[in-house]
């Protein structure tokens, strides 16, 4: 039965091709792009199970099974970078997730359009500034005599090189990330807020509800679906801490709290040594866990609300 369906489908494709040649040729470069730049690296990730040597190539190198994964799980670095990745993610979730919701709620209270627009304009700016500039400012301000230290000494603290102390890294990383993305992340909530029926507020005012009670009983429930979806998505990305910001901010003094999976892969695979197979395995471990988390989050999202990602 199915044997018959296949040629039928193929012939459908063929007739469609003859009818819309231009469309297919137009899509060809894009399809090629995805095959070469997205799917070829997935094929290349096969070296995670091999002992890659340049001479033999990806296909010719010898299989070693799960050896690299075993090495990684047993290594001293495994717990350190896994913990750092998860802790940083968790901080971002704990502090970074509610922050834009609060800001959106505050912005929503403003009746003064001019002030509201000014706050939005100003708070969106850091989103557009490159991560190098942001980290450049952070590094500069954290150095001895920098802006942060001026503030700390102003309040009676001591002037220290903040980024050389492992106990500061997570705070600096998380705070600067929130600072950069806070304003811009409110957009999605503000859009949801504008969908709330204004008559609800009128009715609440007639009933004598204070502003705080209005926020609690009307505004928050109004944007709750959006909050739930975004929260679930965030949980889906829990294993993901990008290397760019880490590499810009860290130094060997603070590896204990700052080194994450992706920065480890970069260091061991490209910058310090070239352990291609081993680091590919480490990266693959992260990708797979991430993908599983995402599938789980998506399923959860389907269960609690009607929204799904895919």
């Amino acid at each position: 039965m199915s044997g018959r369906a296949v040629p039928h489908k193929l012939s459908l494709l063929w007739t469609n091709y003859k009818k819309n040649k231009a469309i297919y040729w137009m899509a060809l470069p894009v399809v090629l792009y995805f095959l070469v730049f997205k799917y070829l690296p997935m094929y290349g990730a096969m070296i995670a199970f091999k002992d890659y040597s340049i001479g033999k190539g990806i296909w010719g190198s010898e299989w070693v099974g799960l050896q690299h994964f075993r090495d990684f799980f047993e290594s001293y670095y495994f717990w350190r970078i896994l913990k750092n990745t998860l802790v940083l993610s968790f901080y971002q979730l704990l502090f970074g997730f509610p922050a834009p919701i609060l800001l959106a709620l505050l912005l929503n209270e403003l009746k003064n359009e001019w002030f509201k627009r000014s706050v939005q304009t100003v708070s969106y700016i850091p989103h557009f500034i490159s991560i190098v500039v942001i980290c450049g400012m952070v590094v500069d301000f954290s150095a001895r005599g920098g802006l942060f230290n001026t503030i700390i000494t102003f309040f009676g603290g001591t002037d220290t090189a903040l980024l050389s102390d492992p106990s500061n890294f997570r705070t600096i990383y998380t705070a600067s990330s929130i600072w950069q993305e806070l304003g811009f992340s409110t957009i999605i909530y503000l859009a949801a807020l504008s969908g709330i029926n204004p008559e609800l507020y009128d009715a609440a005012r007639v009933d004598g509800a204070s502003r705080l009670r209005q926020v609690w009983h009307i505004t928050l429930p109004g944007i709750m679906p959006m909050i739930v979806i975004l929260l679930i998505l965030r949980i889906g990305g829990l294993m993901e801490i990008g290397f760019e910001k880490i590499i810009l901010l860290y130094n060997p003094n603070v590896y204990d709290t700052a080194d994450v999976i992706s920065s480890f892969v970069y260091r061991k695979g490209i910058s310090e040594s070239a352990e291609f197979s081993y680091t590919t395995a480490v990266g693959l471990f992260q990708s797979v866990v991430n993908f599983i988390l995402l599938l789980g989050a998506n399923r959860l999202s389907k269960a609690v609300s009607d929204n799904k990602l895919f």
């Binding site: 469609n16 819309n20 231009a22 469309i23 297919y24 137009m26 899509a27 470069p29 792009y33 995805f34 070469v36 730049f37 799917y39 690296p41 997935m42 094929y43 290349g44 990730a45 990806i58 800001l103 505050l106 209270e109 403003l110 002030f115 706050v119 100003v122 969106y124 850091p126 557009f128 490159s130 190098v132 500039v133 450049g136 400012m137 590094v139 301000f141 150095a143 802006l147 001026t150 600072w179 304003g183 811009f184 957009i187 999605i188 859009a191 009128d202 005012r205 204070s210 502003r211 705080l212 979806i229 760019e244 810009l248 130094n251 892969v265 490209i270 291609f276 693959l284 990708s287 995402l294």
Partner: protein
Amino acid sequence: MKIKNRSVSDRIYLTFVYVVLSLLCASIVLPMMQVLTVSVSPVEVINSYGFHLFPTRFDFSGYREVFRNSLIWTAYGNTIFRTVLGTALTVLLTFMGAYPLSKKSLPHRPFWTALIVFTMFFSGGLIPSYMLIKNLGLMNSVWSLVLPGAVSVFLLLIVRNFISALPESLEESAKIDGAGELYILWKIIMPLSMPILATVSLYSAVGHWNAWFDSMLYIRDEHKQVLQLILRKIVIEGTIDPAAGGGTDLIEKPVNSESMKMATLVVSILPIICVYPFLQKYFVKGTMLGSVKG
């Protein structure tokens, strides 16, 4: 109808709102004022204790140093080049991908969409991508900076949704007049898609302007590197521990210090600030469109 009913708690709450929002704005504006002030101040002022939010004395030696540094200007040129090339490529490929995907008559449309969306959630990782660029012989070439990220799934889907929402009758009537697909895309779809085209271009342009990591990975030749990478060398790598390794630092002139670093930051942000009103408008639009389809 407005009901005047401002209780004390409401007034306290509103005051709280204004104070918090003002503090937030201050936390963004003040660091920038500090950067700007330091960039135009003489060393004595910079080294003096306290905040530097308004310039008291002017000294443009930092900017002079930046203008004299040929590497910065080569890097500036490289960044402009990759931004223009990369954005053009992205716009072209995104529309070439989105238009066929928007056709309801395309066979196996869910399959093609899934093929594309899957790459959003799973990737081969850093090392295989790096090896790919090496094997393709793209090292040290601008193509290593513009090709790997040329199509963004997010932007492709936004454009596809936008084109799908255009009235089909326009296309039909063009076809009756004997127009080919390329002609329809170029003369009908693209002009109608200007707002979304602007969004795609700006997303791509800002991404290219701010990118540095790919340049660090793939470009070995210092004269081909982009501005953000040079910026990192000047601002971050020169700051990590100024006290340590004093031996070589002693030879350097003191001007390669704060004011020059901050001047470099200012010079690199300037173009972004100049187009900021457009950025704000079209990025907000992109975020909204992206969230609708989730």
